[in-house]
């Protein structure tokens, strides 16, 4: 059984979102091949955890994907592929998968599953992922606060074209607060960019 956290997005209470985090994943190539074959049992958004900045980063793309799917305006096949697509600032689906989706060498993985039908539950997702993901399940916390722990902020800045990180002044103490504030700032811009995507 994998550790799965269920999110209830305000305004979409009918569609809970199941989220799981893994490290030391050894079978990314297999998981990816299942996506490529469109195996219905593997209808997930499998994301590279190094590309997710904060819980809100993931949740906002999740909301937009769900909203597009509920209003029949998806640009991709499923709500799950839409989520991967939604994370990227541009309209290129392949590029979205390359940057945010699982690759054959992914070791840190975030799996997202929408409970669009009643048979998809925290339990069922936990069981299925526990069985098929060869890696260590990591609890993400009550509010998903661990979702950003493996983020490569430099890579994220690059995809969203936010330029080089401002160097902190020599001698300035770089502590957790400063780091969190900086992430909050990036997050705010990124949320706006993925909202504006394609328009």
């Amino acid at each position: 059984m994998a550790s799965v956290r269920t999110f209830h997005l305000p305004h979409y209470p009918a569609y809970p979102v199941q989220v799981a985090l893994f490290k030391d994943v050894a079978n990314a190539a297999f998981l990816r091949s299942q996506l490529l074959e469109a195996n219905p049992d593997f209808d997930y958004a499998f994301l590279d955890a190094t590309m997710i900045l904060t819980p809100n980063h993931l949740l906002s793309a999740t909301f937009l994907a769900l909203h597009a799917s509920q209003t029949s305006r998806t640009k991709t096949r499923t709500a799950h592929s839409e989520l991967v697509f939604r994370l990227h600032p541009n309209n290129n689906i392949g590029e979205s998968y390359r940057k945010f989706g699982i690759s054959d060498t992914t070791t840190h993985l975030i799996a997202v599953k929408f409970s669009l039908t009643p048979n998809i539950t925290n339990e069922s997702v936990s069981k299925h992922l526990g069985e098929f993901v060869k890696g260590e399940s990591v609890a993400i916390g009550e509010e998903g606060e661990e979702l950003g722990i493996w983020c490569d902020v430099g890579k994220v800045r690059k995809v969203y074209k936010l330029g080089e990180e401002k160097k902190t002044k020599k001698g300035a103490v770089v502590n957790g607060n400063v780091e969190m504030d900086a992430r909050k700032e990036i997050e705010s811009v990124v949320l706006g960019m993925i909202t504006l995507k394609g328009s």
């Binding site: 909301f63 509010e143 811009v189 504006l196």
Partner: protein, 302 residues
Amino acid sequence: MAPSADIAIEPIAPIEPPAPLAPLHALPPPFTDSNLEVLTQGAEALVYKTTFLTPATPCVVKYRPPKPYRHPTLDKRLTKTRLLAEARVLVRCRKEGVGVPGVLAGDWDNGWLVLEWIEGMTVRKVLDEWADKVKRGDKKEGDDEMLGVMRKVGRAVGRLHDIGVCHGDLTTSNLMLRQPSSSTEHASPLFQHRGHQTVSAMREAAMDGADGSEPSPPQPQSELDGDIILIDFGLVSQTIQDEDRAVDLYVLERAFSATHPAAEPLFQKILTSYGESFKGAKTVLRRLEDVRLRGRKRSMLG
């Protein structure tokens, strides 16, 4: 926008905020009446407070309802254009570090935009409360505290103009004074049920080696210490014309004198601080003289 030189500048009458009514329009899906608080119902937009992404994250939903007197196709297109312009400028401001609410989500085809919640008060309210205190003799008109707020307003508008953005509707209701961050945890009435700390607050406490209990502010903070946040970019334009910038200032000046006649000396502080806020600011202030003159002539004729 029309060529800026032709913009008619009418004297601005004080506008009372509309009394909260029952919602005039239902918001489009997924929004429902539950978990929705009406903030204002203006002519262009309905503004609500609700939550977004997590039940503990307050936000604002701004909805531009269809205008029944306009052709539906044209109406949709205009709404989309305006909303997108507003969202684009907000994101741009965030990138450039100008104080505005972040964009959390939006649906241009259906006319809504979700914005970060700013905990605080409009500058209009700040000035009203100040006027009351002055009347009661608690405070003096030109106290340093209030001058400090005006300095921040001037600087905020200057930053905006410096990146080539003109607000288009610069009134004291469209400027907010953010509550200083150490006191934001308790404020909002809608979200008082939340008993836990935010993740960042917990992290903060952990980093400080504190025990996770209420972080105690280093010194008593004044309510007026927060940042100025510009809101309501529904009439925004991107321009580098000094004329447009001067008109922005003129609109603010009129709004000031209409709603807070006694506070007019305070407005001088805004101009001084604006003048020092970016390279071309002094030229804009000279241009403002012309705009005022035209405004006065117009009102004498009209």
